[in-house]
């Protein structure tokens, strides 16, 4: 089980770094989608099925669609020439930096010693009970967030109309 987790974590990291460093914005969005898919498998392997399915359908699906529609709305004739953004040159040092920091952190973790084994899984409450019975304040928060998103879309994506310059 741990092998799957390590593999998915590594895949998520690699796809994330690819999304950051890629020259083309479209490939960056696709890299983000793959990263979300890897995270979804990781969540499933860690006994979190509800979070896994929501992550797969929402983040790997909806957010990618939003980004790609944003890209297509901003299509300019110069989109093929991404060199003007100089993203790859500016983040060329990123993998090396990450490897160095990773090695340092690994040395720190080994030096600090092994921590205690994980606590026993408390099977007192299933997810359904926890979510609907103890997190009601968050549910109100989610309602407010969705209202907020609706108003944001209505304001930001309106057609041009007497705007100030």
């Amino acid at each position: 089980m741990h092998i799957i987790v390590y593999l998915c974590a590594g895949l998520m990291l690699v796809c994330g770094v690819y999304a950051v460093m890629s020259r083309s914005i479209l490939r960056s969005a696709i890299g983000l989608a793959f990263s979300s898919a890897a995270l979804s498998v990781l969540l499933y392997a860690m006994n979190a099925p509800w979070a896994s399915v929501l992550e797969l359908s929402v983040c790997s699906g909806l957010v990618t669609v939003i980004f790609i529609s944003g890209i297509s709305l901003s299509h300019s004739p110069k989109m093929e020439i991404q060199r003007e953004y100089q993203d790859y040159e500016r983040s060329r040092h990123l993998p090396m930096l990450l490897i160095i920091i990773g090695v340092l952190l690994a040395a720190l973790a080994i030096g600090l010693g092994d921590d205690e084994p994980q606590a026993a899984v408390s099977t007192a409450l299933s997810f359904k009970e926890v979510f609907w019975n103890t997190r009601q304040a968050d549910i109100w928060g989610q309602i407010a967030a969705i209202l907020c998103g609706g108003v944001a879309v209505a304001v930001l994506f309106r057609e041009e109309r007497q705007e100030k310059k």
Partner: protein
């Protein structure tokens, strides 16, 4: 009495949602013409229910009031909303600043009025939610809602400057949210729960090597995230751009409540939950002092009216952080008092900015001058706000600064108290420069036909001036009242 308290408490959550639903039922034109009724009623309801709730709570001798909206809170482990007397001050300030914002928006906003009403109500809901939850994660959720609504409100007119300021604010605010959420995850790793009740009995000693490092890292992340939301130095770079580019009614909200509720209240919660840790207090003191000095120095070089006021906000947030960093009850009372007086005088400045923008047409200080005779009410309210910021009696700002300085002195931080006192001289100088450039001096010929502002903005200025002076004059009674309740 309990029914009044119940109505007020439920109204904090359900009231804004009700206004949004009702406002969207009517046609667009009707909502546009009568928006001041919807938004104004919403803001006034918040204001009065804060006062009524406080009175009801005091007379019923409660210290803490738990309630739940549409669910059963007595089931084991259920979440609940919590009201204590200190939170009513923040709720009152939210209502006051929202009302002032509506008064200014009546004049300055023309064709986006229903979006403005919706967004204002959701921001009020977000901030109320931040104040009344009893769980750190719900605090984060409502803070994000407030932030997202703020971004959209700043960018409401979609001009170039609006979108730019809003985008910069989005980037910095999301960085802060990532820090805060990571800090919360690390704390959750050890304690298994994020409620206030479970965390308040927690001491971080006795942890192993890796976990100790993680806890300290989590606290660093949390403090940096909330300091970024407050606009403390060195995280202040988004604040002037966001204030300058937004419409004035939105700047009032931003500077008057959002940086306080999202930032200062977050810092206050963390400092109260993990109170015994000396590094937290030291870091807050450093942040506070840096903010006061750097904010005042940077305000000196600005030429745009709203940018001076924005840097002044950075500086005043430093005072509040210094008050929290003492850790004593007097310091926290001083910080809360300064929250109120800052809301009053900063809103006055922004109301003046709106008046100047409406009548003169520009906010560059080089193009204004000698407006004292032509705009007497604006000039007088600006002078009162300046006196309150610099801490000169008999305004409310004098008393709140005095409380903070007393708290610093009595907790042994003599150096900090002296530095804060010296820094108020800086505060006086840059504000005096702003006053001189805009209002005093010789009248300019091209501004000869500028007349005084009328209508709701004038009413806003008068209300705020009366509030600043009145609270300042009545302060001894307030201090006696607090002493009678054993808070000082």
């Amino acid at each position: 009495m309990t029914t009044i308290l119940n109505i007020c408490a439920h109204g904090f959550v359900l009231g804004p949602i009700l206004v949004v639903l009702v406002c969207n039922l009517f046609s667009r034109d009707f909502a546009r013409r009568h928006f001041i009724w919807f938004a104004g009623v919403g803001a006034l309801w918040q204001l009065f229910s804060a006062i009524a709730g406080y009175v009801a709570m005091r007379s019923a001798e409660y210290n803490v009031f738990d309630f739940a909206v549409l669910w059963n809170k007595d089931a084991p482990g259920a979440a609940y909303f919590e009201l204590t007397p200190q939170k009513f001050l923040f709720l009152f300030v939210i209502g006051l600043v929202a009302f002032i914002s509506v008064l200014i928006a009546h004049r300055t906003i023309d064709f986006n009025r229903s979006s403005y009403t919706n967004l204002l109500m959701i921001i009020i809901l977000g901030m109320n939610g931040m104040l009344i939850v009893s769980d750190l994660f719900s605090l984060y959720v409502f803070m994000e809602i407030t932030g997202i609504c703020c971004f959209v409100m700043i960018a409401m007119f979609r001009s170039r400057a609006d979108l730019e300021g809003s985008f910069k604010y989005l980037v910095m605010s999301e960085l802060a949210s990532i820090f805060i959420l990571s800090g919360l995850a690390f704390i959750f790793m050890k304690t298994g729960s994020l409620r206030y009740a479970d965390l308040s009995g927690f001491t971080p000693d006795g942890l192993g090597g890796l976990e100790n490092v993680l806890m300290q890292f989590a606290l660093v992340l949390l403090i940096s995230g909330f300091a970024l939301k407050t606009g403390a130095v060195p995280f202040h770079s988004w604040l002037p751009d966001a204030h300058q580019s937004a419409d004035t009614s939105v700047s009032v909200l931003l500077s008057g409540v959002v940086i306080k509720v999202a930032g200062i209240y977050g810092v206050l919660t963390i400092a109260t939950l993990f109170n015994d840790l000396r590094p937290i207090r030291a870091s807050l003191a450093v942040l506070g002092l840096l903010s006061i000095v750097v904010g005042a120095l940077l305000a000196y070089r600005q030429n745009h009216f709203k940018r001076v006021v924005a840097y002044s906000s950075v500086s005043q947030m430093g005072y509040i952080l210094l008050g929290i960093s003492t850790g004593t009850p007097l310091g926290i009372i001083g910080a809360l008092a300064h929250v109120f007086s800052h809301a009053a005088f900063k809103s006055t400045f922004f109301a003046n900015a709106a008046a100047l923008h409406e009548q003169v047409g520009t906010l560059e200080m080089d193009e204004m001058g000698g407006l004292e005779k032509q705009m007497p009410i604006t000039s007088f309210s600006s002078v009162i706000a300046f006196l309150s910021t610099a801490g000169i009696p008999p305004t409310a700002g004098f008393w709140s600064k005095l409380l903070i300085l007393l708290a610093l002195w009595s907790s042994g931080q003599h150096v900090l108290a002296g530095a804060a006192l010296l820094a108020s001289i800086f505060t006086g100088t840059y504000l005096l420069r702003m006053q001189k450039k805009v209002f005093f001096g010789k009248p300019r010929p091209e501004l000869a036909d500028v007349k005084e502002i009328k209508g709701t903005i004038c009413a806003a200025e008068i209300i705020l001036t009366i509030l600043t002076l009145g609270v300042g004059l009545c302060y001894p009674f307030i201090l006696l009242y607090l002493r009678a309740h054993g808070l000082i």
